[in-house]
Amino acid sequence: MAELVSHPDEVKVVSRRFGQGATDIDRYLALDGYKAVQKALAMEPDAIINEVKNSGLRGRGGAGFSTGMKWSFVPKQSAKPKYVLCNGDESEPGTCKDRLIFEHDPHSVIEGVMIAGLSIGAKSGYVYIRGEYRYLSNIMQKAIKDAYAKGFLGKNIFGSGRDFDVHWHGGAGAYEVGEESALMESLEGKRGVPRIKPPFPAVVGLWGGPTVINNAETLASVPHIILGGGEWFAKLGTPKNGGTRLFCLSGNIAKPGVYELPMGYNLKKMIYDVGGGIPNGRTLKAVVPGGSSCPCLTADEIDVAMDFDSVAKAGSMLGSGGVVVIDDAQCIVKFALRTMKFYQHESCGWCIPCREGTDWLKKTLIRFHAGGGLKKDIDNMQYLSENMLGRTFCPLGDAAAMPTIAFVKKFRKEFEDHLEGRPCPYEERGAVEQLPVMAH
């Protein structure tokens, strides 16, 4: 469905089977499918974890936590069953990569879940896919069925004497459900509100059992690591940032698309070489480097290596790999408003700083964009956002505050341009008439 793109600088690991018909299980087998899990079946659990640790693989869901390390936190002994949970909720604005994995290589996710399960001593795993991705749920359900039919799942997998089950699970529209503990609540048939941590999922997760939760791309990377070796994978990227990553280029860019590039690839090159630069004779204004929750970088801040540590040093985050490019025809106040509207809509409402903060910021930004901004609003927005940081049960509060702080700090002049009755200078296309504000 979604178009594939390519560029000579790509290093195809996770995407190597894209466009190859690998949803068909026999085709997947011909493309080295289910070899990694058979290799893992012959390995000690600790050896699997060490291989993943050595690969330098870090979570592709946003936080960039070491995957091997996360797996090692699961207690060896547990009275309750252990689980693996694949996070395919993919809802961070700017992110559209897990979709391609489910569409083109669903068995790699199943294999990743199985290998994770073998390493922690789990006997079953769930693949949670957001409700909007119905066609991908159908693909995944068929892949699981085919794997059972071949005896790769179920009792005595590959004649090993061991059992492993993988099941599909579907959401019904809620960004917050992507947060790991909220995902577990949702899978238990409840509202997707997060849990207080600790205890962390590795100790008390799904139905109270120790649970490893990883993003779909993280899990799809694992079979390649087991087959190619941790060292090989690590060398593809930069120190402490192993491998490649699916970068979703979107926004005002000539060749948007999902490209698999080595970790540490230069952002400027990504925008101008891979993405073909800014179209329509426009110039670059800002980039959101890792999905909507990441602070923007201005045009002169983009000479940065796209790995977790370098982007953090540059004052932002690598996040979920969603690179949103903003050209000089866009209004930053409006961009900040749309971002805040999203977080306000998706806040689960549990904590006051997040629930009230996002609402207040949204209302202020609406007023601002309509030309009713007051000078003190600018400082207030920054002050309020800074005071949301770290004061909430889950990181959604931070996700709303961080980009706002960057917009206000880096584009203060644009906010000032909207003060006291001045119409938005960017609405030259003719302001589109306002539909009612989104109901929530």
Partner: protein, 162 residues
Amino acid sequence: MTTLFSPALAARFDKLVTLYPVRRSALVPMLLYAQDEVGYLSDDVVAEIAERIGATELEVRNVISYYSMLTTKPRGKYNVQVCTNISCMVRGGEEILHHCAKKLGIGNKDTTPDGLFSLEEVECIGACSWAPAAQVNYDFHENLTTEKMDGILEGYKKKGTQ
């Protein structure tokens, strides 16, 4: 028991609840499948699902109200969901939304009098690299222009009225 579920839906439900240690876990996907079949989560559907899953109606309603795709009111046969989030916005997502509103003669979250279309402004649908994008029911439509959107709406209209 009298049921609103088709045999296929009932079979899906019976299979789904076996995949978890707790029946209740099947609730969210089941609500969506039931909604797809019946059109919306009517009082009777809520009651039936509560009974089948072993929860109270209030518990089921609590869950329904949390998820944006679930609805207790009928929608049009074709629910046109236009993304206006950041990647789509900078490529004209709002223009697409307004164009649809004008074309269909309805506002956000409204349904046309003939029940054929409803319109909804939605958050990111995971089509950012192919923006602006929309979903009509579960079908993705990407790299949209207003002209392309016209053709898409025409197509559904034809399909829905023949």
